[in-house]
Symmetry: D2
Subunit: 362 residues, 4 copies
């Protein structure tokens, strides 16, 4: 399906950048999960633009829970959350100009000129607000089961962050940070570099690294619902993501089998691995180690530098300069989207094995 | 679903390494596509071990089309192909020993000791024979529509292959090569290095690069059925794959927006892009340029070097040396699996937009 | 999936009777279909209570199209429509009292006391407003392709309506009637009988008969996506429906093969059948004749007569009299829900065969 | 999907009447369920023709379990069973002649002349052998959880069978009977009537009634995965079925709410209903009472009487007499198909709520 993902637990997104509202329906979550509007707010805030390195468009992301929550808890029936669009400046956009790196042209070809092109329409990053709102409840559901998700900016604007050393504590810290790095100094360098690039009317990308702790052994299915398959499916839904790798990922192509293989050992009766090059997954199924993956986030395609392109209505070569608001970097904003969609995918796979009822038991 | 993938066109795999047979059901392909048993054989041969750099297990991969083909053409109803297992040496395997990098332990935990563990059982790479047999017909279906798929070994055993320069001709050449490189000399180096690693009882991985030409503009869906989502879902089903990237993938994290963005231009009335850093995809939808992606294939986990591990029945730390047949490299064999599963995923997405009927029209 | 139905074209419903709003997301419809808010209103009006034979709860069913429509046309991206709940009297409902024939008890068991029980919550017939709103656009889509759907009250309160004689004209008439009968006199008798039953604090059910004209030959799939399978799946989603039959349905059990079989003949070059006992479907696939089916609608379970039941919190036998507003008959209101969900199911099956693009071409 | 049904537990069928073999892949069943080849044989025997009232085609239905079973137990991975076609007389069939009531014409239109038309091809009732073979294992899985399924011939050839009085014992008896009636004398009358109809070169249909005991409260989902939706979807896949009703079904249209409503009461601490007009389902969800439904099976369309029809190749009106083997009644054979497909649907819904692991626990 197109805008729906998942089986036992599923998410449906809708909305356009300059339409009435964007939103989400999340279905299949267990009943009885406490829903904190504050936490949803917090998560939406993490997705929102931040300081100089982001677009000046500052929406408050007021949202309405239309259904599925009663007395502060999930009812077990579909949760619809709508987030009205405000502060939309439609005049900034020129129909027919294919912004390079954007979906203007492909959207036009797919929807035959009927697409709501304003502000990127349904292709806008704004749609991810729905994923974040719905994902917040999935994150809470997992937290109740002792499963934590955290993502940091592994690399951005030429600067590398530290590596994880103490997952659980670092995850908790990351989840309160707007610019999620393990090493704050590295974060400041990144921000400085982003600001410099912004002055050049250009943009940068980066790499996000995610870790999931507390996930039971045996989750995921062989072949088409491997943990990697399901999570990558979810991640590549996020428009800016162009690469996904698990464990040591592409590096494995330079390793020997004897280096790549994670040796098992018994630690106080629990089977663990000494290294975690496979990212906590063997044969598509969790092995009890933390699940680790990375995403490549491309530089924001919207830049104010002059670019060559076409007008797809007149079929002419033109030049374009994109004025108006845009982010020189969205890596830090994509972080919470990655956490959210990962939580939803994991809820789905967990309930397949253990059942929806289990997912709701404390 | 677990062992089924796709909606309009779907594939179901079944089988264990040492069971009766492995096989595939491919459903939803249009009627009237010519099915060449010779081509299926050819594809299965590409997947089979090759020379010194592969396992001595040499099965002939005789297959039977059980259904869905009549008078040499697809009927439009499900095609089941079974491939009997022969020459299986069950005595080589010790139940309870968790081979590092393998699914022995996760399979045991998931299936509670009921798994057919012999030779990796349902987790064995042998299951990909079904994908290749079914994929052969999907590849033929696409060929009829002018869509070609080709994959080369971009990197293996420390050697890099050339880059594509002339897609259509290079694809045709690749598809007849057992060891698919663009530069044969580089291929020979790779093989030499693999043989050396094999002598050290070790193994290597690599990177495969795939290109799809002739695909119409507008294929793929925004968000959850983005071309990247659907193809990565399919690719990560292949057990050894630990990373997938589209276009310039992870490199994009070191690029500026002005470098990454692919400028559009009009070429004889057709809209194209000057570069193809986005791999032919904008907003999850094809833009008419070739679709390009890469997969990281991990080194074969089965090595004969001594390794630390556990016996998950006795919960003891042990050492293991895996004797018997195994491949020091499977990158070259994975190539045809990548082509096959990509073809199936594309047939599914194409028929969503254009319909099953269109997919069968010449 | 739970509250989502369909593959290429899909519908997701959400909402509770006394929550914020009920609504729908309909996805996969082609772009460029004209969306008339007036027609959506008209359809919602057909679902709303009517005169003495319905509940005094009179909501205006004001709705908001949140997404997916731009310049009065579908954009091809998901259409979300929300319908706020107004005029809700929560005090009418006693938690713990299992109203016979209702989902109070099963909802409690499924959702473990977290369900929004007010007014039936997510089980309320009010959720069908979303189906009707979304279905209106599917109905318009089909109309553009020459496919018409019409339903009449075949039987209600002991009175039988006429049979169809002139499908296309009768469908047009039915679609403008609030109480959809072919013979108005029969309709008046039904209404009189319903009013009498209402005075007795009781309720009645009935049978709806639906016909679809203009559907091409070859739609539907053998086995699990037979036209009967997909349409019955959709119809049985409507809470009050307890039976579905195609063509002559259960009557076929009293017929001989020679009576049941529909003889084919050539009529001006077009292959038709003389009778239509199979309801336009052979082997799960349309044969070009009108598709015909019937649904049994049970009597409204909410009656004000005293009934025996239990309190599922205290686990005691009790007696209950349900006061407040309720319908002595919902057959006439269910009609437009049947049309709507049928339209959605047909859009899905048609786009599977012909593609989404075709569905949007005029 | 076309020939695949189910999410957590799914079934895929393949094959044509005169192809290599028919078969099934059943996926998602828990590991560790004992698989008795004898029981599969027994179930296949119930589906096979019987005495004078069936076709003289007597295949032994030898089957091969290709995968998914090891040491006599399910492994938890897909189970593929193939059943070779033997004793096929292809010369009996004339391509182009649209047998009334059959899918010859619709199959031709759908598959454009590429269909394997011999013996009905993929539309043949023979495909149900795969459903029965796979269903046998689903039935065993449910039996381990205390859930029993039984079906009797409620009506056939003008004779009505008794009603259920003692579910569990009657189910056990039915499952060992080839002609499944509660009252053997009624069965003999049915058979006599069928034989008489056969002499007239005609055929009869009937009604099957199914009961499921032991199913927990709370199974099924509101709206699109209501128990009725999922089971009717499965049942209408069986080609001859033209009607499905739950509880008192179509009769409800002649009842008052006060008659139809099933009063709850507490029986030794367990909540039950006094009547079961709703067939054990409220709001699409099981209420703990036995689930009861009926199917209308149409008279076998293949009759040897002369019939009017067309040749769809020449587009001419013709007359046809169908010689060769065929059943004057298939109601008794359809019984085990109903049981099988019901078991698969229930396994799917149960594992959604409770998880696959639960389904395998004893």
């Amino acid at each position: 399906m197109k805008n729906t993902f998942g089986n036992n637990v599923s998410i449906t997104v809708f909305g356009e950048s300059h339409g009435n509202s964007v939103g989400v329906v999340i279905d299949g979550l267990p009943s009885g999960v406490e829903v904190s509007e504050e936490f949803i707010c917090h998560q939406l805030d993490l997705r929102r633009p931040y300081g100089k390195i982001s677009t000046p468009r500052q929406e408050t992301d007021k949202f309405t829970i239309q259904s599925g929550v009663y007395n502060g808890k999930t009812t077990g029936t579909p949760i619809c959350i709508t987030i009205p669009n405000e502060n939309t400046k439609s005049k900034d956009y020129n129909y027919g100009v294919a912004r390079p790196g954007h979906a203007d042209f492909t959207g036009f070809m797919k929807f035959k000129g009927n697409e709501d092109y304003r502000g990127g329409g349904h292709f806008s990053g704004r749609i991810t607000a729905g994923i974040v709102a719905g994902g917040a409840i999935a994150i809470e559901t997992l937290k109740n089961k002792g499963i934590l998700i955290g993502t940091h900016i592994k690399k951005c604007a030429g600067v590398e962050d530290n590596s994880f050393t103490d997952y659980e504590n670092e995850i908790k810290n990351l989840n309160s940070k707007i610019f999620a790095v393990l090493n704050n100094k590295k974060g400041e360098e990144m921000i400085k570099n982003i600001e410099n690039v912004a002055k050049e009317k250009d943009s940068v990308g980066g790499v996000l690294e995610t870790v999931v702790t507390g996930i039971p052994v045996g989750v995921g299915e062989p072949w088409f619902d491997s943990l990697e398959s399901v999570i990558s499916h979810a991640l590549f839904s996020i428009p800016a993501i162009k690469g996904v790798e698990f464990g040591c990922g592409f590096e494995c192509s330079d390793m020997l089998g004897s280096q790549m293989n994670d040796a098992f050992f018994v630690d106080n009766g629990v089977i663990k691995t000494k290294t975690n090059n496979n990212g906590g997954i063997n044969g598509g199924i969790t092995n009890g180690m933390p699940v680790i993956f990375k995403c490549a986030v491309k530089p924001t395609p919207t830049i104010s530098k002059e670019q060559d392109t076409v007008n797809f209505i007149t079929n002419e070569n033109i030049k374009t300069e994109i004025h108006g608001r845009h982010d020189p970097c969205i890596v830090h904003r994509a972080r919470v989207v990655v956490d959210s969609i990962t939580a939803i995918a994991l809820c789905d796979l967990l309930s397949q094995k253990f059942g929806t009822d289990w997912l709701g038991e404390k």
